[in-house]
């Protein structure tokens, strides 16, 4: 992926594919609307969709931020203390096994129908891949570097921050990439179980009213958001990991 624009090229190809399937498969519109219909909706309801996109995007970004922060914190805490690790890691797994979808209704009751429940949802989905990948990376530091650092009287925290942490950045990157890809779903599920704004809300409504074209319009915007987010994260990681071998 030399080129940050390539995902958009792919998107174009996929739209072409979609066009072909929609036109040739004979699937009715309420199952799979045609791209041109969706485009028409996008044009017609531009302002409306934009407004809801803003809501969802801010939820996604906040969720990604908090989720990454929380995930990194968990990983670092687990690394700092084996005791924490022993107690925390089953809780983390537990938090994942708890299907967000199933407890979403409860989360809405706990955190309200506003923004916070969506962010909590996104965080719940995001933080685990980050924590797991980052922790694995922190743990797998080249022992020689640790020994060298030890001979240099590095404090435990210093070893963590200045040896393990940079060494684990590639692994952290893997986690972050997954997080960026799943962040939108967190926000959408949150909106789905209870909300009055956002792309998820738009989709729910459109779905209930069998306005499949509008639902796909929202879906399309969401995908564009997700791809953009992912491309940005990728770009950032490429900058940050200039030193890591990457043999493609």
């Amino acid at each position: 992926m030399r080129n940050a624009t390539r995902p958009f090229v792919t998107a174009a190809v996929m739209i072409a594919l979609w066009w072909a399937i929609a036109h040739l498969s004979g699937l009715p519109d309420y199952m799979l609307p045609k791209p041109e219909e969706v485009a028409a909706i996008l044009q017609k309801k531009y302002a409306f969709l934009f407004e809801h996109t803003l809501v969802t995007v801010s939820e996604i970004l906040l969720g990604l931020l908090c989720g990454t922060a929380l995930g990194s914190l968990c990983a670092i805490l687990m690394m700092l203390s084996p005791v924490v690790q022993r107690w925390l890691s089953p809780i983390l797994v537990f938090s994942q096994a708890m299907p967000v979808f199933a407890i979403a209704p409860l989360l809405v009751l706990w955190f309200g129908f506003g923004m916070s429940s969506k962010i909590v949802m996104a965080v719940l989905i995001i933080f685990f891949p980050v924590a797991a990948a980052f922790y694995d990376g922190l743990r797998r530091t080249e022992p020689g570097w640790l020994e060298l650092a030890q001979t240099m009287n590095t404090s435990k925290l210093g070893i963590l921050l200045r040896v393990r942490l940079p060494a684990a950045l590639p692994a952290f990157g893997s986690g972050l990439r997954v997080a960026a890809a799943v962040a939108p779903i967190g926000a959408i599920v949150g909106e789905w179980v209870g909300s009055s704004a956002g792309l998820g809300y738009v989709m729910m409504n459109a779905n209930a009213q069998v306005r499949t074209d509008e639902m796909f319009a929202a879906l399309l915007i969401l995908s564009a958001v997700a791809l953009t987010l992912w491309a940005l994260v990728n770009l950032m990681l490429r900058r940050l990991l200039f030193w890591a071998p990457d043999s493609h």
């Binding site: 009715p28 199952m31 209704p105 129908f113 209870g194 809300y201 209930a208």
Partner: protein
């Protein structure tokens, strides 16, 4: 004997007493009698069954009259072939602690909805009788979580609350529900639950046989509600609780005694209402959306 004809029926929602006649027909052997092998499939997303029916993935689907108008408006090739519950069950419900006593009191309050469009129209009509418009309230998607949302005070009222279920539930939790009925507040009377079939399949004789089985079951259920309750919870032990038991009793009078019957005028008026509320673009002729099968 001849091999029974397979019939796949998509339910509207999880299994619940509203669908009792469909299960009773199984318990009393009515399906067998009419040479049918019926499979009842509950969806988790109530929006799914009509679409799958339209796509030919099932023979019949349970849905709602108002929903049908919208589906037809969007071009789904579906028609009503029978009625399961022929009075509205829906209501706009609140609890006494909110202090709301009349529809006018909803001004500036939050109302939970789950099926936007339909329910927006209902709310609009109902509060319209008190001189309010949708701009005077805040609508929040509660995704069918009416009771918890009300109890947790996340909303002040909720449309989509069934009088046999949610209202009962609220009572059982020691709260005093305040119920506003659509048909008493500006909404034409309508059938709550109906059976849909695909246009292409409408002449399939097994549908008539299915509705006949439904009819026999409804009558049997009316005569033997307790016996049938036992059979029901024997099949679904997870549903054996007070709420369902009460709902079972409360729903008895609401099943359509003759599921074949079609009240053309009722459908006509609802079409007009929905056009007026902007839910659908233009009214369809009744024969386009509903048929009364020969019986």
């Amino acid at each position: 004997a001849m091999a029974a004809d397979k019939v796949t029926v998509l339910l509207d929602w999880f299994v619940n007493p509203n669908q009792a006649p469909l299960f009773v027909a199984k318990y009393i052997g009515a399906y067998e009698k009419y040479g049918l092998d019926v499979e009842l499939i509950p969806p988790a997303d109530p929006n799914l069954p009509p679409r799958l029916l339209a796509a030919g993935k099932a023979d019949l689907a349970i849905s709602y009259q108002i929903q049908l108008s919208i589906l037809r408006d969007q071009g789904l090739p579906l028609k009503r072939v029978a009625t399961l519950i022929d009075t509205p069950l829906n209501s706009l419900t609140t609890i006494s602690s909110t202090g709301i006593e009349s529809l006018a009191d909803f001004k500036g309050k939050k109302i939970g909805v789950s099926i936007s469009g339909v329910e927006n129209a209902l709310v609009s009509a109902m509060i319209g009788t008190a001189g309010l418009s949708l701009d005077d309230v805040e609508l929040i998607n509660v995704n069918f979580q009416n009771v918890p949302a009300l109890m947790a005070k996340r909303v002040d009222g909720a449309i989509g609350s069934y009088r046999n279920f949610e209202v009962t539930e609220l009572k059982s939790r020691g709260l005093t529900p305040v119920v506003f009925y659509p048909e008493e507040n500006g909404v034409p009377i309508y059938d709550e639950l109906i059976v849909l079939a695909n246009d292409d399949n409408i002449d399939n004789p097994k549908i008539v046989r299915f509705v006949k089985a439904m009819q026999e079951a409804t009558i049997y259920l009316l005569n033997h509600p307790d016996e049938m309750w036992e059979a029901f919870i024997a099949e679904f032990p997870e549903l054996d609780n007070d709420l369902n038991k009460t709902a079972w009793q409360l729903t008895q009078p609401r099943y359509a005694k003759n599921p074949f019957l079609l009240d053309t005028q009722r459908y006509d008026e609802m079409q007009k209402f929905l056009v007026e509320k902007g839910v659908i673009d233009k009214p369809q002729k009744v024969e386009e959306i509903a048929v009364e099968l020969p019986h």
